[in-house]
């Protein structure tokens, strides 16, 4: 598996996947920080506008919109890069089983996405220092772990985006599904309606389990995730049953 991960790392050298992925993930934090500095500088000085307020805006914008979209983009690019380079045949004719190849790609994209979320969490702390917020240790740990948890739960998008791109050999269906799945994320603002969002549901479940969302009933989110998982596995099995590919 390490060999597969190392190969995946090499493949994307000098591509837009690393640069655009990192820029896309980190730049919203910086833009929100700049906007905050321009509009709320006086309030920050007076201690009215706190890191908590800044972080609230960041979460709303990043976790439910930018994060899922860029996670999809990275997962889709990992497959389309192979199709565009005509290298899919090369990979499939190595002695690795299809399952290991898929798991290798899945593992690498997941590590990359989590790496980007770490960068976002660090940028968040960096912006807080630059903007002059009062930073407590509790906030530091809470906000960072919340962002990392959000990153981990966003990984639910990765297998779906990979599979759709493999099936259609194009980025378009996966991107449409990703955008369509991101729109209901705004429902997560109202936590009780979070089951409407395929990307928001795992996040709610994990955050509830981690004790961040105490007033949420988990029946609907759990039902939703089981339905999503059922649909995904059914699509996967149907595809591989009817596909003429090994």
């Amino acid at each position: 598996m390490i060999d597969l991960l190392q190969s995946e790392y090499k493949k994307y050298k000098n591509t837009y996947i690393y640069s655009l992925g990192l820029l896309g993930m980190v730049s919203p934090v910086i833009l929100i920080a700049i906007a905050t500095f321009m509009v709320r500088d006086d309030l920050i000085t007076q201690g009215i506008y706190t890191w908590h307020s800044f972080y609230g805006r960041l979460v709303a914008f990043f976790v439910y919109l930018i994060g899922p979209l860029f996670t999809s983009f990275i997962a889709i690019s990992a497959v389309t890069h192979e199709y565009q380079s005509h290298t899919m045949g090369n990979i499939l004719t190595t002695p690795y089983s299809r399952l290991r190849i898929i798991l290798g790609k899945l593992g690498y994209v997941s590590l990359l996405v989590i790496g980007f979320y770490v960068c976002v969490a660090l940028t968040n702390i960096f912006c807080a220092i630059i903007l002059g917020f009062t930073i407590t240790n509790t906030e530091l740990i809470d906000y960072t772990s919340y962002l990392l948890l959000a990153g981990v739960t966003t990984l639910v998008i990765v297998p779906l985006a990979l599979l759709l791109t493999v099936i259609f050999r194009s980025f378009i269906p996966a991107m449409i599904i990703s955008v369509a799945g991101t729109i209901p994320n705004f429902a997560v603002y109202h936590w009780d309606k979070c089951y409407l969002s395929p990307w928001g549901v795992p996040e709610v479940i994990v955050l509830k389990a981690a004790g961040y969302l105490n007033n949420i009933d988990t029946v609907y989110p759990l039902t939703s995730i089981l339905v999503y998982a059922g649909l995904f596995i059914s699509a996967l099995l149907i595809y591989f049953h009817y596909s003429d590919q090994y």
């Binding site: 060999d3 597969l4 190392q6 190969s7 090499k10 493949k11 994307y12 050298k13 000098n14 591509t15 890069h81 380079s85 005509h86 290298t87 899919m88 045949g89 090369n90 990979i91 499939l92 004719t93 190595t94 002695p95 690795y96 089983s97 299809r98 003429d244 590919q245 090994y246």
Partner: protein, 306 residues
């Protein structure tokens, strides 16, 4: 005889269209096997089934006597292949591309330079720096072979390796195939629709048409002197023409003589009759069929049977 690749009743259909039908080929180990067929005859589909890229509807493939199956991809360690166009990551250098392949096959890194040497790219300064996306097609083809050789396979499968190459590139590719077979003992399975190309490198030939194997055997069998026509030059064209009509031969009059479409054995009869009729024979030349003419004859007669 040891066979590197054997297929048995290999069949693949797309709806009503049978791309490959009941195909039985035997590729002797250590030889160059030319897999001939027109475009769309089923060559690439066969290769894709051998490589496990598509699932056959029926039949089996054996590699060195071991039957391949869906969940056993270890046999692929014995095979290096270029199917259609060689695939490379255009953003990476040639060396980096080969390093990825070496890693995937768990081949030692020294093999990268050895493979590059084999295809004549060893001393090239661009190998470690220039992105493959900027390479010429000829270089990409050679690099494709290096990529297929990096894990020291026992079988090399080349699907139309001369496609898009200029005459010099074709010549280089031909020499490379001969070198790989003779000096390294690799079994080479080369598919092509260019009969002349295959004729010049192959030890064995299999001809596929409409998904079916039409003929298979040693190149010597295909090179047998099957006469295409007898070229005849005489002093009296009118009299010769009358004689040929009297004897019932098909012929074609050309500027200085005749093309007579007859068997090799009939050359003697024609010569004797000409001499008996006091016609002076200046030239009597048996012209053999090229492999191409024979191939077209085989595939056309097959079409008539169907």
């Amino acid at each position: 005889m040891n066979y590197a690749i054997e297929t048995s009743h290999l069949t693949k259909a797309y709806g009503e269209f049978k791309a490959v039908s009941d195909l039985e080929i035997r590729v002797p180990a250590g030889k160059v096997y030319g897999f001939l067929g027109r475009n769309g005859s089923g060559k690439t589909t066969t290769i894709r089934m051998i490589m496990g890229l598509i699932r056959p509807d029926n039949g089996t493939v054996k590699i060195f006597g071991r039957k391949i199956s869906r969940n056993r991809s270890e046999y692929l360690a014995d095979i290096g292949a270029i199917i259609e166009t060689p695939g490379f990551y255009p953003n990476l250098s040639a060396y980096d591309n080969l390093a990825i392949t070496a890693k995937m096959f768990k081949a030692p890194e020294e093999r990268i330079n050895e493979a590059l040497e084999t295809v004549g790219l060893g001393g090239d300064l661009n190998i470690e720096t220039k992105p493959v996306g900027k390479f010429s097609l000829g270089m990409k083809q050679r690099l494709g072979i290096a990529n297929a050789l990096v894990h020291s396979p026992r079988i090399l499968i080349l699907d139309e390796p001369t496609n898009g190459l200029d005459p010099a590139g074709i010549l280089e590719m031909r020499e490379l195939i001969r070198h790989l077979s003779q000096s390294m003992g690799i079994t080479i399975f080369v598919s092509s629709h260019l009969l002349l190309e295959v004729q010049q490198v192959a030890d064995y030939i299999g001809i596929i048409d409409q998904g079916k194997l039409i003929q298979e055997g040693s190149i010597n069998m295909f090179n047998a002197n099957e006469q295409n026509f007898l070229f005849l030059e005489t002093d009296e064209l009118q009299k010769t023409s009358q004689l040929l009509e009297f004897l019932g031969f098909d012929y074609e009059k050309i500027d200085i003589g005749f093309k007579i479409f007859c068997n090799r054995e009939e050359n003697v009869i024609i010569n004797k009759k000409l001499v008996d009729n006091q016609i002076k024979v200046y030239n009597l030349e048996s012209v053999s069929k090229t492999l191409e003419e024979r191939f077209l004859g085989i595939t056309n007669s097959q079409e008539l049977v169907i």
